[in-house]
Amino acid sequence: MKTKSFILLAFCFLPVALFILPSAMVSAQQPTPSDDEVNAIARQLFCPICQNIPLDVCPTQACHDWRELIRQMLANGKTPDEIKQYFVDHYGARVLAEPPQTGLNWLVYVVPPVAFLIGVFLLFQAYRAWKRMPKGPDSKGAGEPAPDQSDEYVSRFEEELRKRN
């Protein structure tokens, strides 16, 4: 009898204990991170399954789960970099807004400046080649003076002559 009532009592208290315990645990954590804090990190990530949609505005259930995951990780004191690394480890490098600077990916960062420098180089080559060219009958010697009214008409007149030539 006594054992039975004891067990019954324990069963009654169990749900109460279950209610109390989690709240005690929660109060030991930090306050729930706000949407803005979550979005500040989500904005730097892309949805792992949709294409080219940032995580903070992605409307799917899966993205909702991922934002909640970020919230949870923030509440547990993880830093933004740790959270991003977690996402990369779990979902692959495509969740990042730019390729991580590893392996072959350095190419993506190196090619544009190199191409630009090549362009500058070619530009100077062309400029030097033009400078070396002899003066032809078409090339202008002195440049136009600043757009003064009378000169403008004269130079326009010369232009028209050239065009109709």
Binding site: Q51, A93, R94, V108, S139, E144, P147
Partner: protein, 672 residues
């Protein structure tokens, strides 16, 4: 019946385009004027035929012929008539028809000009435009036919086909699926046609360029002829891009206008090649230089148009925007390969003939600065191209999927855009042939003073972000220099002609349309830059869940959540609409009504409530991807400073364009 008619006429158009190409080329090699004339007439006839075909499709869309698969997929009974018509470009098959229709229109227009002075160009212009037309028609006919109809077998299975499969009967649905809700915005109605007009328009200068290469007439005649076409194409392409941005801002609900998505970039790249082309043809006309470069630019523009179209439709790239994969990619691929190879081959063949005639003496002369302009645009183009292609390389070589997103593009192109801004300031002050720091300095020092004042004022007002400081300084510099140019020119006129100031300005502008119209366009560009700087650097956002009566504070504004209503709308959608009151400094400024609509087919669209002023936009969305109830309503608010200068700038752009490109009597004469 109608569908078969439409398809039949389409096939005829295709055959005619092929004939036109063949006749033109034969006419050139056999030196037969008759063949060339025949090819010209054939090209004109294609316009008639494809108009018939396109109009048939439009008619079927408008009257609800849902047994036609395309009509079923993009039209429905409850759509207003104008939407049923614009549904022509609501899906891939129809948009390809639109492409071909516009291509044919432009090709026909070009055949109708006076050709006496340029007979040798004609066969090649016809051939290039006709083969491009034929290519796009082939896509419609063989791979994505808008005229296929739905057939049902005895077992009940429904499948699309052009001709009746054995044992099937025509299946006529009572209603269609309707146009994708995202496409029902005015921006989306005009954005595709404008873009296509731009793309198609650039085919004409390209055709003339090829004609010039083949025939050896590599002087600037081809540029003179196509100047007008280039301008028109560039106008439409620019407008098309801006419309896309506005649509994204209004409809996609994430408070931005450009996400550096591969499909967006695919449409931007032809513009990045076309804009320097527009500029450097002026140099070729004035100084006989940059011939090789201009030829390369127009080849690049055309190639990027085809390449961009391929990228967005082939399934090679995944994107939110992309059309679904299609089977026509192999033929597209072959066409790209051939056109690239032939164009480059011709360019290399004629490289020597394209030598410059003038010399460039000074690094700061106007032609040198135009060259710098080209380099900068080309730099941006390389960044965009590489960013789009690199994920593909990564996936093919290492199997790893990557994202190249906004941080990459902004960081790589930011300095280049800034340099272009600075160039817009310097170039008007530089003279053709010769300029030094001294001459430019003399012209620039006056407008630089108020500019410096602006910088100081900004700094003192706590603007410390160096990018913002630099950006706003450059923007004001260009504005002051440009206004100074107007003022200077008007004052000179006043001194001589004795006109009042406003007459002076208008006469000045009218007599120098290209220069002063160009200045207005530059003002438009810096206005857009102002908007872009504001929203990119100073956007703030917040997401909060509110109960009725609660408030959100953002950037000095207070938004109070007043009410939420849910109701059905006439076309079957369920609307959820919130009302918020906007306060600033305690004063009520107005109400905002963000809402989201859930359509019968399950698609939901979120429409922001936007309050726009010259200074900023207050932009609110109902976060409908989280739970929405009256007690817990999630809102996302964006504060976008200066963003409306982006749209204002595009209006100024059109104004400047009209001034710059309005035909003058002398120009018409010289063109002919």
């Amino acid at each position: 019946m109608l569908a078969q008619f439409g398809f039949g006429v389409l096939v005829l158009t295709f055959l005619l385009a092929l004939f036109s190409t063949g006749a033109a080329i034969s006419g050139y090699f056999f030196k037969s004027d008759r063949w060339v004339e025949s090819s010209r007439r054939a090209l004109q006839l294609t316009f008639l035929l494809i108009s018939l075909s396109a109009l048939t499709l439009i008619y079927m869309l408008a009257t609800g012929h849902y047994e036609v698969e395309y009509v079923y997929s993009v039209s429905s009974l409850n759509m207003p008539l104008y939407l049923k018509i614009t549904a022509l470009w609501g899906g891939q098959a129809g948009s390809l028809i639109l492409w071909s229709w516009l291509m044919s229109a432009f090709a026909t227009a070009v055949t109708m000009r006076k050709w006496e002075r340029d007979r040798e160009f004609l066969p090649w212009v016809v051939a290039v435009t006709a083969i491009t037309l034929a290519f796009f028609l082939s896509l419609s006919i063989f791979f994505d036919n808008p005229f296929t109809r739905l057939w049902q077998t005895i077992s009940g299975q429904v499948s699309p086909s052009m001709f009746a499969p054995a044992g099937s009967t025509l299946y006529v649905p009572s209603d269609g699926q309707g146009l994708n809700e995202f496409l029902r915005h005015p921006g989306m109605i005009f954005h595709p046609p404008m873009l296509y007009l731009g793309f198609v328009g650039f085919v004409i200068p390209y055709a003339f360029g090829i004609a010039a290469l083949v025939t050896g007439r590599t002087d600037d005649r081809w540029i003179r002829i196509t100047r007008r076409w280039t301008l028109v194409a560039w106008l439409f392409l620019s407008i098309g891009l801006v419309l896309g941005m506005r649509w994204a801002y209004d409809v996609l609900g994430w408070g931005g206008y450009w996400s550096w998505d591969p499909v967006e970039i695919a449409a931007l790249m032809p513009w990045l090649a076309g804009t320097p082309f527009l500029h450097s043809v002026i140099i070729q006309e004035k100084r006989g230089m940059l011939k090789q470069w201009n030829m390369l630019l127009i080849i690049l523009t055309y190639s990027l148009v085809i390449f961009g179209t391929f990228l967005t439709r082939s399934g090679v790239l995944s994107s939110v925007h992309a059309f679904s994969e299609s089977a026509f990619s192999p033929i597209f691929f072959i066409f790209i390969g051939l056109t690239f190879a032939i164009s480059i081959g011709l360019l290399i063949y004629r490289w020597g003939d394209l030598r410059a005639e003038g010399e460039m003496k000074s690094l700061l002369s106007r032609e040198a600065l135009f060259l710098l302009n080209n380099l900068l645009f080309f730099g941006i183009l390389i960044v965009c191209f590489w960013g789009v292609v690199f994920p593909l390389i990564s996936e093919v070589v290492t199997g790893q999927q990557l994202t190249v997103g906004p941080p990459f593009y902004l960081r790589a192109t930011g300095p280049l855009w800034a340099a272009l801004l600075a160039l817009m300031g310097i170039a008007p002050l530089s003279a053709w042939g010769y300029s030094t720091l001294k001459t430019i300095g003399r012209a620039a020092w006056k407008p630089s003073i108020p500019t410096l004042l602006v910088t100081v004022v900004l700094y003192v007002s706590n603007v410390r972000n160096w990018i913002a400081l630099l950006g706003f300084t450059l923007v004001s510099w260009v504005i002051f220099i440009t206004l100074y140019e107007f003022w200077r020119g008007a004052r000179s006129r006043q001194k001589v002609q004795g006109e009042n100031f406003f007459t002076a300005i208008s006469k000045l502008t009218v007599r120098n349309r290209r220069r002063y119209g160009g200045y207005i366009i530059h003002l438009a560009m810096v206005s857009m830059a102002l908007g872009i700087l504001g929203i990119n650097l100073y956007q703030t956002q917040t997401q909060q869940t509110l109960a009725v009566g609660q408030e959100i504070q953002i950037s000095g504004y207070t938004l109070r959540y007043d009410s939420l209503a849910q109701f059905p709308y006439v076309d079957g959608r369920q609307v959820t609409r919130a009302v918020l009151s906007v306060f600033k400094g305690g004063e009520l400024l107005g109400e905002l009504h963000p809402r989201y609509d859930v359509y019968p087919d399950g698609v939901s669209m979120t429409i922001p409530g936007i309050r726009s002023t010259m200074a900023d936009d207050l932009y609110v969305v109902l976060v409908n991807w989280e739970n929405v109830s009256v007690e817990q309503t999630p809102f996302k608010v964006y504060h976008n400073p200066l963003v409306n200068w982006l749209w204002i700038g595009s209006a100024i752009f059109v104004l400047g364009y009209l001034v710059a490109a309005w035909p003058e009597k002398e120009e018409i004469l010289s063109e002919k």
